[in-house]
């Protein structure tokens, strides 16, 4: 899957939450670890329910986890 216009702070948030491992996060949001890896690498844009589940695990709003770059190549 190609890179998306969606960036995220999942890696940062994991470390801020007691150095949570990718496996722990994957189990809590009910996906595979490979999906967390793809998300952190910006290679996969999650579904809305998954994005909400991830935000809830960290106890923050969804916008604090995911940012949409509307005009990645523009000014």
């Amino acid at each position: 899957m190609s890179k998306t216009d969606l960036s995220n702070r999942i890696r940062r948030l994991r470390f801020d939450h007691g150095e949570m491992t990718q496996q722990e996060l994957a189990e809590r949001v009910e996906v595979t670890r490979q999906t967390i890896i793809a998300l952190e690498a910006g290679k996969y844009a999650p579904s809305l329910p998954l994005a909400f589940r991830i935000a809830r695990v960290f106890g923050v709003a969804i916008e604090e986890v995911f940012q949409y770059d509307e005009d990645p190549g523009g000014d």
Binding site: M1, Q22, T32, T35, K43, S47
Partner: protein, 152 residues
């Protein structure tokens, strides 16, 4: 490696094995006993029946393993199915049009052109192989692109 990847790899191994053995047996029998005997090599294509074992990969090995496939795997599977469907459609178009065009050109304006009906099941089986083979390659390629990003 998740069940989808295992299935794709298993499919490619079985297809390669069956087609490889078939090709070898066909050539040997053709050389030794002639064209009629060479038809016996088609029996080796029965090995393709092993493809039916792939659902075994979807069994859960450990009870604590809650998630085996998720939404991303589903999307990869859908994309692979779409690619395989398009390739299989193109194969069937070629399977219908190429013999028609070639035989029509050879026969000129004559209407008395025909092919053996024995080609029909072979074309169907070929389509199934193309479908499964393309699906498997598409699965492995999509997962392969994401490899190498492992970090904790």
């Amino acid at each position: 490696m998740n069940p989808q990847q295992k299935t794709a790899r298993f499919n490619l191994i079985v297809i390669s094995l069956a087609l490889g053995l078939f090709a070898i047996a066909f050539m040997l029998l053709y050389q030794i006993a002639g064209p009629k005997a060479a038809r016996g090599a088609f029996g080796l294509l029965g090995l393709l029946g092993l493809l039916g074992l792939s659902p075994l990969f979807y069994r859960r090995k450990h009870r604590e393993q809650k998630v085996v496939l998720d939404e991303r795997d589903g999307l990869i599977g859908q994309r692979a199915s779409l690619i395989a469907g398009v390739v299989a459609y193109l194969y069937f178009v070629a399977a219908c049009m190429v013999p028609w065009a070639v035989l029509r050109m050879r026969a000129g304006m004559s209407q008395n052109v025909s092919i053996s009906i024995d080609w029909l099941p072979l074309i169907l089986a070929g389509g199934a192989l193309i479908l499964m083979g393309t699906w498997s390659v598409a699965i492995l390629v999509q997962y392969g692109k994401e490899a190498g990003d492992v970090e904790d």
